[in-house]
């Protein structure tokens, strides 16, 4: 985001820059300009090298480096980020106020903005006079958009463009400074701050704006609003705002400097430049000290929030505009924000410092840090801060309570930026330690020696060399591995390597498999293991000469030498009992109790199976699937079916001895579909008839699994059970359960029991299943509590999937169920799998999360592993790593393919190692981190009270961020919230995790739902957790009916919804279509086929098929989304102000949730507070 913005900003600022140029050039030259490319990452990467070259860069480099990573949105602990940005924005103005403002506005071409900008600028100029600034801010806002927040946003949007320009400005530094000047300028900091602050802020803001239009706007708005609000609300808008802003700016400035790295690259870059220059000015620091101190305390949050946005580009411009905007918002936003703002300001600074200053400009850091820190420490606590602020600018601060949501880091913006920066080029895996594009970005992967990120993603691609560092940073080192991930058609599947009878070549000591990292020595006669350094003879048949570079001549001919992912054909030594496996079997086990019959479920399943059986997974080009099928129905007893092809009619065999389950038949139970087609068809026809009159309501469950297990045992094969189950198994049998649902336990120490299985019986059963390779997929259709926590144990431990359809109704749920079933049956799956992760000496895999069973500490055993299942592996140091050799991972999965072939799939990944924490923070992936944290927390609820888990989560994240703040962003004030660029979304995502149903259930969430979600999440990959925790919200009415693309997503907040629009929200499980009350009738007609809002039925499970572009478009969007997800999502129509809206709002994760979940802004403040406590 920031990158783009920066690019834009470039020109406008360019002008302003001149003044700053001196300073800027180095920094800017390196970053911004080069950065021009836009893509933040790209830019950074680019910058790194590119910049480094430039002389200035060197000096700055470090800073730059930091910045890029550090771009973190730094927030003041207390309040909103926006303020900071604003501040920053303003700051720039101060310095180069006029230019940036103008620049910003100009680029966008929005008059309003420009006006604002001017205003800001003016303010900036006047900056010295705090009031001045604010008024301007307010003024601009007013003019720009309607005073109302909404309008503001819209206006901001307009500004969006400007932001871009702003960014450029920021890049130019001039802009930055200007911004800062304006913002800060007005305030006391005046010049001193102005420069530094201004610069950073600008950059931040600019970058932000630079990216997406809306987003930028929002971002810009965000910041502005906050700032504005703050500003305005604070002392009469102008003063408080200004002061604050100024403060912020100053802070930001420093922050900005860092920001470059963190928030807006541009910013960071600017900052450095600015920083450089500014340092001299130094005034900044003092100002910060003063103003910042005051403001920071109060405003910190704001500041922080703004900074991020700024970083995102919009920041800077918005800043200005924001300020203008702020004017209006302020009213809405009360004082406190103001404080936050200040803090934010500080944060901004922090950021600035972090990246740039940290390394490069000690001076700047000093500015940032010195001034900043002192004040913050004093006012670390928001409360304490307020007072100072209050003293300074009581009125303003109070009004500023609110942080501008647009000013805080926006997931949407980040996603959009990454998409636009990295979506076009293929991701080539040849280089060690590359951070891949985000999961939300569509990109192609070229395997050149490392596994595709589709297979493995890491929390960090740069691993600390020592455990001390790792402990210090608290950043978990984890890899999220999806060994059988489905690849897009453009990418090639892993090659299958057949080494014949001798099997794969392996290291003698650690048994690692041959991979591209193995070093051949002695002319190729031996190779040295890249994991354990042991030297192993090359088997004669594998010998090959080396070329002059030491590579084997057949390097490119052998996948295992040149690719990151490949497969070996396993020899008989890798098979159970030293026998090659037989093809697996699928057993369909259908509940035929009264409930299942009544709902029509059984008939539905039987009908579907008739056709579905033709689509069993098959290997490669095989004509027919090798998988055999079997059928069981059950209620209190089990019915097996003999469907041998030679029979005229199927035979049913009832086993009522559920206490001691066994399989009553051998021959004819598992059959080839084609051979027994008629018998199977006859059976599936008759099952619904046979049980049509059943009155049996009790069911058993464990015996069903046992039956399947026994059947597979008898057939000596692995396989999968598809169990369709409706009720709590209360019939007398092993594994009988009782209803233990008790909501009173929530928030007590006993809450964990709700997630634990009732009895250990199922654990033992699961163990047996795994030993046999019996995977259990569970389809649940409960009408009441059925104890998913217990029923799911076997499924979970065998690598199966659970699907739950509460209150199943044929009309509404059948599509969803059938699609899930189809997908589940058809998807690629391996059986009887064992996975081991080997690592370089120095780290080792210590913990595993996912759906599997472990009988020892290293081998992950899965009865079945399908293409959607993901295992998260955590690594810990047990020794030192070296920067030279880096860290290697090899994930080896031994499994039986669907045709019964035993194979080894190997994924290799090489990571960098670092001795500098900054490198770690620069190469993190927040999405993966969240994946890990969520799984970690979700496992924690089994053993600890939920509150403990939540606190631990918050604490860990606070430590991560505090470590960054402390070690990589030192030069800023402690009051500033500074987030590493790569982790700037950590707070928002973490908040989503904390608010999730498992960790903070609302009253309407059932115990089963929680257990269900818990298990689902545990085997989710990064993309799934990403959208699950931060749902995608798409304004359908904004969709371009003529293009294939999706409308740009918006942030998950009610504020973003317009009454006149229709939105779609998806989280991987559900799709909501939200219809505003004021939506045009035409749209309603087009989409729902009814004439008015009130006629829309929210019982619809699909949208009517209507022949008009809008309907087609919406349906195609939905279809597209459905295809992307591993489960068919339930479509829910939500009308605004309807009952269901409560449910919908639950997913607007940036808002306060009904169950007590904090809003994004509040949480950010909370995080900041935590961080500050850690730092103090």
């Amino acid at each position: 985001m920031s990158v783009n913005q920066q690019a834009h900003t470039g020109p406008p600022y360019g002008q302003p820059q001149p003044g700053y140029q001196g300073y800027q050039q180095p920094a800017y030259g390196g970053q911004p300009l080069p950065a021009v490319p836009q893509s933040q990452y790209g830019a950074y990467n680019g910058p790194m090298p590119g910049y480094q070259q430039p002389v200035p860069p060197q000096g700055y480099f470090p800073s730059l480096g930091f910045p890029s990573k550090g771009s973190p949105v730094s927030l003041n602990s207390d309040t909103s980020l926006a303020p900071n940005f604003i501040g920053s924005l303003r700051a720039p103005p101060t310095s180069g106020a006029p230019p940036p403002a103008s620049g910003a506005s100009l680029p966008s071409g929005h008059l309003a903005y420009s006006q604002f900008g001017h205003g800001d600028v003016q303010n900036g100029i006047p900056a010295s006079a705090a009031p001045m600034q604010r008024p301007p801010a307010s003024q601009p806002f007013l003019p720009g958009s309607a005073p109302t927040p909404v309008s503001q946003t819209s206006t901001f949007q307009q500004y969006g463009h400007p932001p871009a320009s702003v960014q450029q400005l920021s890049n130019h530094m001039a802009g930055m400074t200007i911004g800062s000047t304006t913002a800060s300028a007005p305030p006391p900091a005046g010049l001193g701050y102005g420069p530094p602050t201004s610069v950073p802020p600008v950059s931040g803001s600019f970058s932000a704006t630079g990216s997406g239009l809306y987003t930028p706007y929002t971002a810009s708005q965000g910041p502005p609003p906050t700032s504005v609000s703050q500003g305005l609300p604070l002392a009469q808008p102008p003063f408080p705002g200004q002061p604050i802003s100024t403060q912020r700016l100053p802070t930001q400035v420093p922050g900005f400097a860092p920001p470059p790295s963190s928030t807006g690259i541009g910013l960071s870059s600017y900052p450095p430049t600015t920083g450089a220059p500014r340092p001299p000015t130094m005034p900044g620091p003092p100002l910060p000290g003063q103003t910042l101190a005051g403001p920071p305390a109060s405003q910190p949050n704001h500041v922080s929030s703004p900074p991020p946005p700024p970083s995102t580009m919009a920041g800077p411009h918005p800043g200005p505009p924001m300020s203008g905007l702020h004017g209006p918002p302020p009213p809405t936003h009360p004082p406190q924000p103001g404080y936050q703002m200040q803090q934010n300001g500080s944060f901004g600074q922090v950021r600035g410092p972090q990246p740039n200053y940290g390394g490069a400009y000690p001076g700047t850091p000093n500015y940032g840090s010195q001034p900043g820190p002192p004040p913050p420490p004093k006012r670390l606590d928001p409360d304490s801060i307020p007072s100072p602020q209050l003293n300074e600018l009581p009125p303003q601060q109070k009004p500023r309570h609110r942080i501008d949501p647009d000013a805080i880091p926006s997931p949407i913006q980040v996603i959009e930026d990454d998409r636009s920066n990295r979506g076009s080029e293929p991701f080539v895996t040849g280089v060690r330690g590359q951070v891949p594009p985000l999961v939300t970005t569509n990109f192609l992967v070229k395997d050149q020696g490392n596994a595709s990120p589709r297979y493995i993603r890491c929390t960090s691609y740069n691993i600390p060399c020592t455990s001390d560092m790792a402990k210090q940073s608290q950043v978990p080192l984890a890899a999220v591995i999806k060994p059988l991930a489905t690849l897009p058609p453009e990418e090639t599947l892993p090659y299958l390597v057949d080494h014949g009878e001798s099997g794969p070549v392996r290291c003698n000591r650690c048994k690692a498999y041959m991979c591209p990292f193995m070093q051949f020595i002695e002319g190729g006669r031996r190779f040295q293991c890249c994991f354990c350094s042991c030297v192993t003879e090359v088997p004669p048949h594998y010998f090959q000469h080396l070329d002059h570079t030491g590579k084997r001549v057949d390097f490119y001919d052998r996948p295992e030498l040149s690719l990151g992912s490949y497969e070996f054909l396993a020899t008989v030594d890798y098979c159970k009992n030293n026998k090659f496996p037989t093809p697996p079997a699928f057993i369909f086990m259908i509940d035929v109790s009264y409930n299942a019959m009544k709902s029509g479920l059984v008939r539905l399943i039987c009908e579907e199976l008739k056709s579905l059986l033709d689509y069993l997974p098959r290997e490669g080009n095989m004509e027919e699937s090798a998988i055999r099928v079997g059928f069981v129905t059950y209620n209190k007893v089990l019915h097996f079916y003999n469907v041998k092809s030679s029979l005229a009619q199927p035979q049913m065999m009832v086993v009522s001895d559920v206490a001691d389950m066994f399989v009553p038949l051998l021959d004819g139970f598992l059959v080839n579909v084609n051979e027994s087609r008629t018998v199977i068809a006859s059976l599936l026809d008759q099952i619904p008839e046979m049980f049509a009159d059943t009155r049996e309501t009790e069911t058993v469950f464990a015996p069903v699994i046992q039956a399947g297990l026994e059947a597979l045992k008898a057939a000596e094969c692995a396989g999968k059970l598809f169990i369709f189950h409706t009720s709590l198994p209360i019939a007398e049998a092993p594994g009988k359960l009782k209803n233990r649902d008790d909501k009173k336990l929530i928030n007590t120490d006993k809450e964990k029991t709700l997630f634990q299985p009732q009895t250990s019986f199922y654990n033992n059963l699961a163990k047996d299943c795994v030993a046999q390779g019996c995977c259990v997929d569970l389809f649940l259709f409960p009408n009441q509590y059925l104890d998913v926590a217990t029923l799911g144990v076997v499924t979970y431990q065998t690598g199966g999937s659970i699907y739950k359809y509460a209150y199943f109704q044929l009309e509404t749920d059948q599509d969803r169920f059938l699609n899930d079933l189809r997908r589940d049956v058809q998807k690629e799956v391996g059986f009887d799998a064992v996975m081991r992760v080997r690592t370089s000496t120095g780290i080792r895999a210590t913990d595993f999360f996912g759906a599997f069973y472990m009988s020892n500490t290293t081998d992950v055993e899965m009865a079945g592993l399908d293409c959607d299942k993901t295992i998260t592996v955590e690594f810990k140091h047990d020794d030192k790593l070296s920067e030279d050799s880096g860290a290697l991972l090899q994930c080896a999965l031994l499994y039986t393919s669907c045709a019964g072939q035993r194979r080894l799939r190997i994924h290799n990944l090489s990571l960098n190692c670092c001795t500098q924490l900054a490198d770690l923070y620069r190469n993190c992936e927040t999405d993966t981190l969240i994946n890990y944290l969520a799984k970690y927390a979700y496992r924690g609820v089994l053993s600890s009270p939920v509150k403990t888990v939540r606190d631990a989560l918050i604490n860990q994240c606070a430590q991560i961020l505090a470590c960054y703040r402390k070690n990589c962003a030192s030069p800023s004030s402690a009051g500033q919230l500074i987030l590493p660029e790569c982790m700037k979304l950590l707070p928002v995502y973490l908040n989503c995790v904390l608010k999730s149903d498992v960790l903070q259930p609302g009253p309407e969430v059932t115990t089963d739902d929680r257990a269900y979600i818990r298990q689902l999440v545990t085997s989710m990959d990064v993309a799934e957790t990403n959208v699950f925790f931060y749902p995608r919200l798409l304004p359908l009415t904004k969709a371009d009916v003529d293009s294939d693309s999706l409308p740009a997503a918006i942030r998950n907040s009610e504020e973003r919804l317009s009454k006149g629009d229709i939105y779609l929200l998806e989280n991987g499980l559900n799709i909501f279509v939200w219809v505003g009350v004021n939506v045009q009738q035409g749209l309603i007609q087009n989409l729902f086929g009814v004439s008015s809002f009130s006629q829309i039925s929210n019982a619809l499970s699909t949208l009517p098929v209507l022949e008009n572009p809008f309907s087609k478009k919406v349906r195609s969007i939905i279809d597209m989304l459905q295809v992307q997800r591993s489960r068919y999502m339930k479509l829910i129509i939500v009308k605004q102000e309807d009952k269901l809206e409560m449910l919908f709002k639950h997913f607007l994760v940036e808002d306060k949730s009904l169950s007590g979940g904090a809003s994004y802004v509040d949480f950010l403040c909370h995080m900041h507070k935590e961080i500050r406590q850690l730092l103090s």
């Binding site: 007893v637 019915h639 097996f640 029979l647 009619q649 199927p650 035979q651 049913m652 065999m653 009832v654 086993v655 009522s656 001895d657 001691d660 066994f662 009553p664 038949l665 051998l666 021959d667 004819g668 006859s682 059976l683 008759q686 046979m690």
Partner: protein
């Protein structure tokens, strides 16, 4: 009464009763000195063409401990309409229906010729007969095929309204549900797990009637048949289905690796069959027909492990206490048998295999319930096929020759007490004044239950004379015994057959010759044999033989006439003359000798010995040997090796085998084909004669005997050679041959 022989024969024909003594020693002491106990062979349902049943209830003595049935021996006061019970001397009023009674207008039961009379009574609902087939599927393909055909054929022989059920077993046990169309259903049970009746009924869903009742649906009457009918259906409704089902029966599909026996869950299968009937049709006539082709190899009741290298137990193992499964298995089957008997059902065992099948352990199932036991080499033999077919033979009146759920109540006059019974029955534990403390056979009761019986089923009932020596019985006093047999006729009617007999008392000191003359040596031989065989079941073989020998010696001592130290002077009266010979052959019979017999065979032989009537029993004890030659008409000859002559054809009937043995010359002639030459038609006739006779025997014998046609020097000749008295052997053939 011309001779005792005629008297005995008359009595047997009329009452189906043969006493060892037809004049009874009047004191306990004397009676014990008679060596052979006072006992009788009772054939409760002896076929009587001339006995039309009466259609009313019997009149019972009103004394609760007596309840004897009005009989010709009772004294009747026609005026007062009173009758005196001849057992307890209670005076009873005739019931109102007998108001018209007078000396000239007597009810049938008072007429002397109706010492045996049968009543048809209306009691309880009539339930159809039930046949539950329990079929082993671990058979060779052709065996199974043959068995399936036999079973299918049997469906046509069953009464149309009879209920049939099918249980198959191998490694698992399957109870087939017969009521469904389309898909065939069966309930499957693990073959290794013993289940209680309750569990079985729960698992088969038979205990469900309780639910509807709770739900306030008092439709139990319709409900009951519905439930049970899932497994037991009237033949006429499902014979097509069942025929198909049987047709589709497959061999047990579970793999049997080399060196292993198939896993066969006979124990559980029987247990389930018993449980099924117990839950659905207690106390009504039902046959569980077990068809098995090998030993139970798993689960409760397993007789041998599945390792082929471990052979099934032999007598040798048993003696050495090496049969590790035997006790447990026997206990399992005994428990089952007792349950079955308690429910009034019976278990038939058709075991066809070349090796043993565990009859030793399972014998009680048939023995205690009155079931059949048939042993053959294969289901694919006429022996089995015809035997099985014969089960469903009908009597002269078109009724099945089978009856169910009988209880036999024996009443005696006060000088006698009941010591016990030996036969296919169990005790009903009815203690009463007429029950002796000394037990012979199944004692301690005056009532027994015979779950299944046919017209030839014969029980040995032993009495004890309790009259003290110093309390002489008045001259002309008679002792009386009444047998009351209540049973379910094959037509499902409830019937009561009452046989009342009386015998004279005699003072053994003064009237020994009377007693001696009235000795029935045939009955005595069989009765003693039963006692011996009964003992042999629980005692060591030599002990039993010794006991038999001692009894014989004592008898001879008592009734023989001899001069001391002069063997040649020994004489026995005519009425005792055959007895020693019977004992001689009994000693050598497979009932007491286990050598050369497997435990299964012994059990099989003993089973049949304990239920056949006197004639058949005698054949078993001393096989009959007929000689056919040109020297005269066929004649019975001594069962002795000296009877084997080159120019004779011998026909031996041992009950279990029929052997036709061609003498050396005859065999040569036959080989030369003389029989085909018109001029030697007489030879052809000669050859044919024993065949015809054998055929005649085969027609009536149940179970079908093994039919052996052999010749001098043939390997099968051993069947004959092992039976004959080895007066000539390879050791003495020459010398003795010369002499004779």
């Amino acid at each position: 009464m011309a001779t005792y022989l005629e008297f005995i024969q008359q009595n047997e024909e009329r009452d189906g009763v043969r006493f060892s003594w037809n004049v009874w020693p009047s004191s306990r002491l004397e009676a014990t000195r008679m060596v052979v106990p006072l006992a009788c062979l009772l054939t409760p349902l002896k076929e009587r063409l001339d006995l039309p049943p009466v259609q009313y209830e019997p009149v019972l003595c009103s004394r609760p401990t007596c309840k004897a049935v009005l009989n010709p021996l009772c004294q009747v006061d026609y005026r007062a309409k009173l009758w005196a019970c001849n057992f307890c001397f209670q005076r009873n009023q005739f019931p109102p229906a007998y108001a018209g009674i007078s000396e000239v207008n007597q009810p049938a039961e008072l007429m002397p010729q109706f010492s045996t009379i049968e009543y048809i009574v209306q009691r309880g609902p009539q339930t159809p007969l039930i046949f539950l087939y329990v079929v082993d599927t671990c058979l060779e393909e052709e065996d199974l095929q043959a068995l399936k055909e036999s079973l299918q054929m049997s469906l046509s022989l069953l009464p149309a309204d009879a209920l049939v059920g099918l249980i198959t077993f191998g490694r698992m046990v399957q109870v087939h549900e017969l009521s469904c169309e389309g898909i065939s259903k069966s309930y499957v049970f693990r073959g290794t797990k013993d289940l209680t009746a309750k569990q079985i009924q729960d698992m088969l869903g038979l205990s469900r009637p309780a639910v509807p009742i709770q739900q306030g649906r008092p439709l139990q009457t319709p409900e009951q048949p519905v439930i049970s009918s899932r497994f037991l259906q009237p033949v006429h409704k499902i014979d097509m289905n069942l025929t198909d089902l049987l047709g589709e029966l497959q061999r047990d599909p579970w793999p049997v690796t080399q060196g292993k026996r198939p896993l066969r869950s006979t124990g559980v299968a029987l247990s389930i069959a018993v449980g099924l009937l117990e839950g659905t049709f207690p106390n009504t006539g039902a046959r569980i027909m077990l068809f098995t082709g090998g030993p139970p190899t798993q689960g409760p009741g397993m007789v041998v492990g599945d390792e082929l290298k471990t052979p099934i137990r032999s007598w040798h193992d048993i003696e050495k206490d090496n049969a590790r499964f035997m006790k447990k298995a026997t206990k399992h089957y005994e428990t089952l048998a007792n349950r079955t008997a308690a429910n009034g059902h019976c278990i038939d065992i058709y075991a066809c295999a070349l090796d043993q099948t565990g009859l030793l352990e399972m014998k009680c199932c048939a023995n205690l319930t009155g079931g059949q036991m048939v042993m053959g080499d294969s289901f694919n033999t006429s022996l089995f096929k015809q035997t099985f077919q014969r089960v469903f033979n009908k009597g002269f009146n078109g009724e099945f020759r089978m009856a169910f759920g009988a209880s036999l109540d024996v009443k005696t006059s006060r000088e006698l007490k009941i010591a016990g019974a030996i036969g296919p029955c169990i005790s009903l534990n009815a203690k009463g004044p007429c029950v002796s403390e000394n037990e012979l056979g199944i004692g301690g009761t005056s009532q027994w239950k015979i779950c299944s019986l046919d017209p030839s089923t014969t029980l040995a009932i032993y009495f004890e004379v309790v009259n003290q020596h110093n309390a002489p019985i008045p001259q002309g006093g008679r002792g009386a015994v009444q047998f009351v047999t209540q049973y379910q006729h094959s037509s499902t009617q409830k019937r009561i057959r009452v046989t009342t007999i009386a015998r004279n008392w005699a003072d053994a000191q003064s009237q020994l010759q009377h007693i001696e003359a009235a000795f029935d040596q045939e009955a005595a031989a069989v009765l003693m044999a039963r006692l011996g065989v009964y003992r042999a079941e629980s005692e060591e073989g030599p002990d039993v033989l010794r006991w038999l020998d001692r009894q014989l010696i004592r008898l001879c001592q008592k009734f023989g006439q001899y001069n001391k130290d002069d063997p040649n002077s020994f004489r026995l009266s005519e009425s005792f003359s055959l007895y020693p010979q019977f004992m001689f052959h009994l000693r050598r019979s497979p009932f007491l000798q286990v050598f050369n017999n497997s435990p299964d065979e012994s059990s099989y032989y003993r089973h049949h010995f304990a239920r056949q009537d006197l004639t058949q029993s005698l054949i078993m004890i001393q096989p009959i040997l007929y000689a056919y030659s040109f020297h005269g008409p066929p004649e019975p000859v001594l069962l002795d090796s000296s009877s084997i002559l080159p120019d004779r054809i011998l026909l031996m009937d041992t009950f279990f085998q029929i052997v036709i043995y061609l003498g050396e010359t005859i065999a040569q002639w036959q080989k030369a084909g003389y029989q085909d030459m018109p001029e030697y038609e007489n030879f052809k006739h000669l050859l044919q004669a024993p065949l015809d006779d054998a055929q005649e025997i085969l027609q009536t014998r149940f179970p079908m005997p093994r039919y052996i046609h052999t010749e001098h020097g043939g390997s099968q000749a051993r069947f004959l050679l092992s039976k004959v008295n080895p007066s000539q052997t390879h050791n003495n053939l020459y010398a003795w041959g010369q002499v004779s």
